[in-house]
């Protein structure tokens, strides 16, 4: 009898531990070989056959297609430089030099990867359309209220994700070490 209860307990516990760990790893987007610069994190290996099993499982679940290594690299940010989670009711500024790439795009998504509705129908910027400062620096304001300059509306969504995609870039392709481009700084300015 004790053996029976023991095995039942073990099996139930094993299923809970195993499935729980899988759920955690896959939903949190944990993958190995990440490259973090400031608030921005990229997984350059996810765009190649060297993709690890956790990233493969996460991609299978969400249904996205990772950007191929020969195409570019995507940097994701969910917080600003000091760790404040992106909240659509707050204003954040993105400023500084942009890394070396033939083109880049910056896009705002909700936590599930959908675009966020707004009256301007603007979901991001490309390197070709952005208005730069005299010294070539960029300054983008992300927030719910209209602002002068480069305004990226966050539509008041609760939580958002910024994705900076560099196309035709040496970053992350040559090596995972410090071929660090200068990624723009992200700072929270205030909340509604």
């Amino acid at each position: 009898m004790r053996l029976f209860f023991g095995s039942c307990l073990t099996l139930i516990l094993a299923a809970a531990i195993g499935l729980g760990a899988t759920w955690l790893m896959v939903t949190r987007g944990i993958a190995f070989g990440s490259l973090t610069i400031g608030a921005w994190t990229a997984w350059p290996k996810s765009g190649s056959v060297d993709i690890d099993p956790y990233a493969r499982a996460a991609i299978a679940r969400t249904g996205e297609l990772p950007i191929g290594t020969g195409d570019g690299v995507a940097f994701y940010a969910r917080t600003d430089d000091s760790g404040n989670v992106f909240d659509g009711r707050c204003t954040f500024t993105i400023g500084g030099m942009t890394p070396a790439a033939r083109y880049w795009t910056l896009t705002l998504y909700d936590a599930q990867g959908r675009l966020v509705a707004n009256t301007l129908d603007r979901h991001g910027f490309t390197s070709a359309e952005i208005v730069r400062e005299k010294d070539g620096r960029i300054a983008i304001n992300v927030g719910p209220r209209a602002q002068p300059g480069n305004w990226l509306p966050s539509g008041g969504t609760e939580e958002f994700v910024l994705v900076w995609r560099l196309y035709d870039t040496p970053i992350g392709v040559a090596s995972l070490t410090t071929k660090e481009g200068p990624m723009p700084k992200v700072v929270r300015k205030g909340c509604l």
Partner: protein, 185 residues
């Protein structure tokens, strides 16, 4: 009751096995992965343009709205695939994915260096069966081996400004993929 730690240790070990096997099985079991989503939208071995992502409707999560996107869902069972894609004025990239969304090859317009990207996609077996004669033409032809029979080719053309989206879409409209039946031997 002395055995309880042993039972728990056994549960931990078994849990580890369950964890690893579910992670490895997920790509095979997924029903909402990119290929399954696109299967509903596109016939096989044909280039189809995807609708632009919007807040209400997006084919896949995290699509870059600055790009026009076309896909060719391929099946190499009956022969090799010929792909031809004209380049847009800004930036064009073609990425090859296996059935399970692993990007095994990507090429952009600069690497192609011509007005159009032309290439042949085949399985390693089909590549091995190719006649040897064409050393001269081989240098001219880009041959890519697909690790799987089924997969996805994603063609993407950048619209650097929203007004150039029509240009990017026009460029992709000229893209073609078709199967070249294996010649009978």
């Amino acid at each position: 009751m002395m055995r309880l730690p042993l039972w728990i240790l056994g549960a931990l070990l078994l849990g580890g096995i369950v964890h690893l096997s579910t992670v490895l099985a997920m790509p095979e079991a997924a029903t909402q992965d990119a290929y399954s989503r696109l299967e509903r939208l596109s016939p096989v071995n044909t280039v189809v343009q995807l609708p632009a992502p919007s807040a209400q409707n997006t084919t896949m999560p995290f699509m870059d709205p600055a790009f026009a996107v076309a896909i060719c869902r391929y099946d190499l069972s009956t022969g090799a695939l010929k792909l031809r894609a004209p380049l847009s004025q800004a930036y064009t990239a073609i990425t090859f994915y296996t059935r399970n969304s692993v990007a095994y090859y990507a090429i952009n317009d600069r690497a192609a260096g011509r007005r159009a990207i032309e290439l042949d996609l085949m399985t390693p077996e089909q590549h091995a069966q190719m006649p040897e004669e064409g050393d001269v033409t081989a240098a001219d032809r880009l041959i890519i081996e697909s690790p799987t029979r089924h997969g996805l080719i994603v063609l993407r053309a950048l619209a650097p400004e929203p007004g150039l989206m029509a240009m990017a879409r026009r460029a992709l409209a000229g893209a073609q993929c078709r199967i070249e039946p294996v010649p009978a031997q």
